[in-house]
């Protein structure tokens, strides 16, 4: 079994890392390369960059910062945001991203996952899924940054993504995201039955939350604010997890 992975998530807008997607005021945290360098030194196992304002116009900007990050970083990274075709993915992978994340476009056209897996291998394809607890479906899948509900049950969709060729699942609990109350553990119990790696996202607030998520089957844990603000430094988190018998790269 590979080590459990700690993954900082960075939201990028127009080539800058920003914080506070839900607020009108976006705070500038620095360039993707600066943040990448910092997390590389801190011992992050991997990075995820989500381009929150991806559009045709800023494609050139994105390729440029992806290339810069690839040259600077000595750990793998995923880029997502508006990836809706094999060509979109090709441009990111050619620029040096290790994996691409797809979300809304895959839900609207599931064959995209299959096409990406065939073109680049499934290890390059991260399926990002945003879900919310739901009386009818258990957990319901939401699209477009969590603004648009679908009729899909999250667990059914995860298995479908696996069958389509996703190499990894990035699963965000919208109920927990931003609360700091801990991950949605029953959700992880079910999702970790999948035969592909699972990245848990949404709810990290304390060291113990990471431990719980990993004990409930997650292969990797993702957080943003906690790391960006320096509330929980990655070396401290890793030491804590290692002391609790989690296999971790130190």
């Amino acid at each position: 079994m590979p080590a459990k992975r700690i993954i900082p998530c960075l939201d990028v807008k127009k080539g800058r890392v920003v914080k506070g997607v839900q607020f009108k005021e976006l705070r500038d945290l620095g360039s993707p390369v600066e943040l990448a360098r910092r997390y590389d030194l801190e011992g992050a196992d991997e990075l995820v960059f989500l381009d929150i304002a991806a559009s045709l116009e800023n494609r050139g900007t994105r390729e440029a910062w992806v290339r810069d990050v690839a040259r600077e970083l000595s750990i793998p990274f995923t880029v997502g945001g508006g990836v809706s075709s094999v060509e979109d993915a090709r441009s990111l992978l050619r620029s040096g991203a290790d994996k691409v994340a797809v979300n809304t476009a895959a839900a609207l056209r599931p064959d995209l996952v299959c096409e990406l897996a065939n073109a680049f291998g499934r290890q390059c394809v991260v399926a990002a899924v945003d879900v919310k607890r739901d009386a009818d479906l258990g957990w319901r899948v939401y699209l477009k940054g969590g603004t648009e509900p679908t009729e899909r049950s999250a667990i059914d969709w995860l298995w479908e993504l696996n069958d389509l060729g996703a190499g990894e699942i990035l699963l965000t609990s919208m109920d927990r995201d931003g609360t700091g109350d801990g991950f949605d553990l029953p959700l992880l119990d079910l999702a970790s039955e999948l035969p592909i790696p699972l990245i848990a996202s949404g709810g990290a607030g304390l060291e113990i939350h990471f431990l719980e998520a990993l004990e409930h089957g997650a292969d990797a844990v993702l957080a943003a604010t906690l790391f960006h603000e320096g509330i929980l430094p990655i070396p401290r988190l890793k030491t804590y997890l290692a002391q609790n018998d989690i296999s971790i790269r130190i």
Partner: protein
Amino acid sequence: MSAGLITLIDYEAGNLASLEGALDRLDLPYVRAASPEQVAQSGPIVLPGVGHFESARRSLQERGWWRLLPELVAEGRPLLGICLGLQLLAEGSEEAPRASGLGLIPGIVRRLGPGVKVPHMGWSQVRQASPHPALPDPEGAWLYFVHSYALEPAAETVYLADHGRPFAAVEARGKVLGFQPHPEKSGPTGLLLLQSTLAWMGATATTPEAPCN
């Protein structure tokens, strides 16, 4: 200068950006060769690779590399395969049962599993299986892997890793070496291994050491 120049094979099936970044950080000069005419006159050749065995093989064939690489190795040129690059050096792969490999390293590449998550994606520890002049005892160092197939270990395997079963993480035959993990993605440890491997293969840094007085 060209004596120690590294040739990076660019056949549109490898993530060259991170490899180039790693070589820059190590101060190792390289050329990116999109066709066999662009190979440096001497020095190590690096065959990266991600994706499917058969499409990578086809891509190498179309560009003339498939025929050239065994010739260069026969002349004594050092060759380093990384990830799928290593798998292509083997005799064949279960990923493409009808397409043979380059056969520069004996053995067959087999699918990982059952009983473990595939692809094997993430950081795993490697251990020494047999000593090699370029590669120190890793003592459980963590390296980054992304793959669904792996070379079966042999007597000459340098480093072993485990994912459901032991497999060859680093394999060597003479001046042909293969890494299943990505040393360019494996933090400072990976960079050191890449550096010592390429130095052993004859690469020389851009800035020569100051001559002795």
